[in-house]
């Protein structure tokens, strides 16, 4: 389905569907298991966090989802469509967009042109007159991406140029459309990547550390932007080291460590999960952490100790 049509239909608000499902994904590089048995799902209309220490396998999982890495086993579903063996561009056409931890911009193009490439990705170049038909929401004043209004197209330039300008404005880069992408500071360049991804009007947006290089105010603004996108019906999967941002905006969080999902739940549950604390802080011994994690998961406590640090409410986490 063309991306534009696909996403414009999301204005009605969140749906309970799982837009992305990862089941039993494993990846080995030589003798090293980058992912062992990764399972996660992302609901439309939510922001889902994926956290974990460096080297946990987060980017590898993103690469598997977006098609840059073939898994040794496991499946990736976009709604009900099995996309495990699909080429990256086919996945993108189905509504999967991503950004990269290490910037992947079209460096010799301007910021505006970067966005235009994403915007026009469904247009066949030998049928250039179809450009207008591909952006009906701009022409007809619907003007939204992921449920977020862009405003009426104004001023000179083609529809693609006008729309890319509006998208850049949307991520805080108004007036910078002519800047060469590779000459921009990292924080701004990340926003160009984000605008390019949004230009595809995706159903599911994978963001790999979009907050790095942003100051506190910008990070706040990014959080608000992502929340708004999710409210528009888009599923957002966020890899981020800024825990404050993750805990503030995510509806659900997965924790990845050594290629395994070791915990999942609401931000509050994750904050209290001893396995997570062990993985991040090394504060609890592994055995203790496993015991308390089991307790937290099954709503029981270890009879020997009688208490489970950090799991006061004993609420079960979701797998």
């Amino acid at each position: 389905m063309p991306q534009a049509e696909a996403t414009l239909a999301t204005d009605d608000g969140p749906t309970p569907d799982h837009v992305l499902t990862v089941e039993g994904v494993a990846v080995r590089f030589g003798g090293v298991a980058a992912l062992s048995d990764a399972n996660l799902s992302v609901r439309a209309g939510t922001v889902t966090g994926l956290i974990g220490p460096n080297g946990a396998g987060k980017t590898t999982l993103f690469n598997v989802i977006s098609g840059l890495q073939t898994p040794d086993r496991g499946t990736v579903l976009l709604y009900d469509t099995d996309i495990t063996k699909m080429k990256p561009h086919r996945r993108a056409r189905l509504g999967l967009a991503r950004t990269f931890q290490r910037l992947e911009l079209f460096g010799t193009l301007s910021a505006g042109e970067n966005v235009q490439v994403g915007l026009e990705s469904s247009v066949k170049w030998w049928q250039w007159r179809h450009v207008k038909r591909k952006f009906p929401w701009v022409k007809e004043g619907v003007a939204s991406v992921g449920g977020v209004p862009l405003g009426e197209p104004t001023g000179p330039g083609s529809l693609a140029v006008v729309t890319s300008d509006r998208l850049l404005e949307g991520v805080g880069l108004g007036g910078m459309a002519a800047d060469q992408a590779s000459a921009m500071p990292t924080g701004l360049a990340r926003m160009v990547e984000l605008a390019r991804a949004l230009a595809m009007a995706p159903k599911i947006l994978l963001l790999d550390e979009p907050g790095s290089g942003l100051d506190d105010a910008e990070s706040q603004a990014l959080g608000t932007l992502l929340t708004t996108l999710a409210k528009g019906g888009m599923g957002v999967l966020l890899v981020e080291h800024d825990m404050e941002l993750v805990m503030r905006i995510c509806d659900f969080v997965y924790v990845l460590d050594f290629g395994d999902i070791i915990a999942s739940g609401t931000p509050e549950e994750i904050r209290r999960d001893p396995m997570v604390q062990a993985a991040y802080l090394g504060a609890v011994s592994e055995t203790d952490a496993q015991k308390t994690h089991m307790a937290a998961t099954h709503g029981t406590t270890d009879g020997a100790t009688g208490t489970t640090p950090g799991t006061d409410d004993g609420e079960a986490t979701q797998a």
């Binding site: 079209f106 193009l109 060469q180």
Partner: protein
């Protein structure tokens, strides 16, 4: 049976020679990430140097070997790494390819100057004599080559996997900075790699030279190790044992085909197979390689792209160019240079400039190195001559269409591989077409292929002036088209696929389709240029579209600026001018030029200092204005002008 054994022994010997050269390529690539296109030329220089010392100056074999291999090749390897390659770190991906090609044409050019191609030179074996085993005669030289190849492979395996230096050599290309932090100089490791690579190139040249029973020639020795390229490709440029095994297999296959299959072919086909076989092996090796994995590398190119002229500027520039062409055609209508009218030479410049434009599209914009644009030009000229007796617009259309189709076929098998492999495939294609097609007497005929000047209803372009103006119009239209493509959605995609293939795929765009499309368009343009070239020259011959002139022209376009229309024109002008003045040294000029231009991605026209002096050369890059305050306003934060909050 004895014949089979004889062919087998010879095949293994030949394969062993290839193996030495191929492992040298692997060593250089493993330690520097650069595929040394000059590997064959280094072997050729070593073979001629060895001949010079032993046959011309009567030096003992051992002394000659020491001088050529230890002193000559090793020092040359160290020099090339230090002076040419080290400064290319961080340069655009096609630049190391261009520099090694430059080195190749310099070495072949120098060899032509020093060793006259008309003199026949045979090299005596390092060990004379033969012995008899299981009913066949085996020369000691064969045993020496096989033994040396085994020793080299085993020694390298030992070096790479059992020594600290070997680990450092393997690590240097992956992460030189990390290696530096571990206390090992990455530059030194890279230099060791180049020394080893040159040593093995020279060794293969010296060892194989005596097996050339008809004598050594510059071109044949330079291209002799192409079968070694195929072996290195089978070994994926990193596995020495696999490379070695592939080299032996190729040597055997080559010898069996030549002795068992070729005799059953017609005489002209025999010759074609004979000369094209190494390139066919290389092409097969490339086609059978597994796909390269698309990786997000996070390399953000910092190159400032040349400014692209607007539609209005293109029209004005094109019109001005045509006016100048008319003035030139009037002013120099009767000027002759070395028996050729200036306007005929001008017509050749325009045709080559169109080929240059095709390179701007395929290499400059999309980053794919094509070394076979001259081949398409030759095929275009051939089609032009054969359709309606030449001289018709139908011929031009056919030349364009046929070349576009062949271009797509050449690109298709290699699009799933990295760009280096496309460069190699085009190298193989260019030589196979030159040797197996153009050189075939039945293609262009012994006296060349006659191609009439273009005639349209009521219009004839029989005179040099009319023909010159006609091809100039074709050039101007082609240039306008190339700029229009760059400004278009497709042009943005060409640049994007070059900048970041991973991002390109993840925004929903098909890398393979884009690459094949641009390659086919560029091939079609070169075919059109070939058709026009035929009408300008009125006769084309077997050597007009050889692999070396083609490579030299690519280098000139790189020197002037492979991302600009003006670069294509100036390259054509330089090529034709130097070909008139110093035809035998043109390769040296091209090689030195590309080395001097170094890492300047946009060539001479991209050098800032030139912009001051030449006002018509446009500014490079987009402007970076003062960063406005970021608000994230209109999309998410609300506030004035935002609908998100409402």
């Amino acid at each position: 049976m004895s014949n089979f054994l004889q062919f087998t022994v010879f095949g293994i010997m030949l394969g062993a020679g290839y193996a030495i050269a191929a492992t040298g390529l692997v060593v250089t690539y493993t330690t520097s990430g650069v595929f040394n296109f000059a590997q064959g030329a280094v072997g050729m220089i070593a073979a001629f140097g060895y001949w010079e010392l032993v046959s011309a100056h009567h030096q003992p074999t051992l002394v000659a070997l020491l001088l050529v291999l230890i002193l000559g090749a090793s020092i040359a390897g160290a020099f090339v790494e230090r002076v040419l390659m080290r400064r290319l770190h961080g340069a655009s991906a096609e630049r190391p390819v261009m520099v090694t090609l430059g080195l190749m044409v310099i070495l072949t050019g120098l060899a032509t100057v020093v060793w006259s191609p008309t003199v026949q030179r045979t090299v005596n074996p390092q060990i004379n004599g033969q012995f008899r085993l299981v009913g066949i005669n085996i020369q000691y030289q064969y045993v020496l080559i096989i033994g040396v190849a085994i020793a080299v492979a085993a020694g390298l395996r030992l070096l790479f996997y059992s020594t600290r230096t070997g680990y450092a050599l393997r690590a240097v290309v992956d992460d030189p900075e990390l290696l530096g932090m571990a206390g090992v100089s990455p530059n030194r490791m890279s230099q060791y790699g180049w020394i080893l690579g040159f040593f093995m190139a020279a060794l293969s040249g010296v060892m194989l030279a005596p097996t050339q029973t008809t004598g050594i020639s510059i071109e044949s020795m330079t291209l002799l190790v192409v079968s070694g390229y195929a072996a290195a490709i089978v070994g994926r440029l990193k596995h020495i044992p696999l490379t070695f095994a592939a080299a032996i297999a190729i040597g055997l296959a080559e010898n069996y085909i030549l002795n068992y299959i070729e005799p059953h072919l017609s005489s002209s086909l025999q010759r074609d197979v004979d000369v094209s076989l190494p390139m066919i092996f290389l092409f097969i090796a490339l086609v059978t390689l597994p796909s390269v994995r698309l990786r997000a590398v996070g390399r953000l190119t910092s190159m400032r792209a040349p400014r692209v002229a607007s539609g209005k500027e293109s029209l004005i520039g094109g019109a001005a160019f045509l006016v100048v062409a008319v003035v030139v055609s009037v002013a120099f209508a009767s000027t002759n240079i070395k028996g050729t009218t200036l306007l005929t030479l001008g017509g050749m410049v325009m045709c080559l400039a169109i080929v240059g434009l095709s390179l701007v599209l395929v290499t400059g914009y999309s980053g794919q190195v094509s070394l076979c644009q001259f081949s398409f030009m030759g095929i275009g000229a051939f089609v032009m001559g054969k359709v309606a007796g030449g001289g018709s617009l139908a011929g031009l259309l056919a030349a364009t269409a046929v070349c576009a189709g062949i271009g797509a076929l050449v690109a298709l098998p290699t699009i799933r591989l990295s760009d280096l492999y496309l460069a190699l495939a085009t190298f193989a294609f260019a030589d196979a077409v030159a040797q197996g097609f153009f050189a075939d007497g039945s293609v262009y005929g012994s006296g060349g292929l006659q191609i009439a000047r273009i005639t349209l209803p009521g219009l004839s372009f029989g005179g040099d002036t009319a023909e010159f103006l006609l091809v100039t119009v074709f050039f101007v239209v082609s240039a306008w088209l190339v700029l229009a493509i760059r400004r278009s959605l497709f042009g943005r995609r060409l640049v994007a696929v070059n900048d970041s293939p991973a991002a390109y795929a993840t925004v929903g765009l098909n890398i393979g389709f884009t690459k094949v499309a641009v390659f086919a368009i560029a091939a079609g343009m070169a075919g059109l240029a070939g058709g026009l070239y035929g009408t300008v020259q009125q006769i084309v011959g077997t050597t007009d579209f050889d692999i070396f002139p083609g490579i030299i022209f690519v280098l000139f376009v790189t020197i002037w600026g492979i991302r600009t229309v003006s670069g294509a024109f100036l390259a054509a002008l330089t090529y034709v001018a130097l070909n008139q003045i110093w035809p035998s040294s043109i390769g040296i000029f091209a090689g030195l030029g590309v080395i001097l231009i170094g890492r300047a991605a946009n060539g001479i026209l991209g050098i800032e200092a030139i912009h001051v002096r030449l006002p018509w050369v446009k500014d490079g890059g987009a402007t970076t204005g003062e960063a406005p305050t970021r608000t994230f306003g209109s999309l998410a934060l609300g506030g004035e002008g935002s609908r998100a909050a409402s």
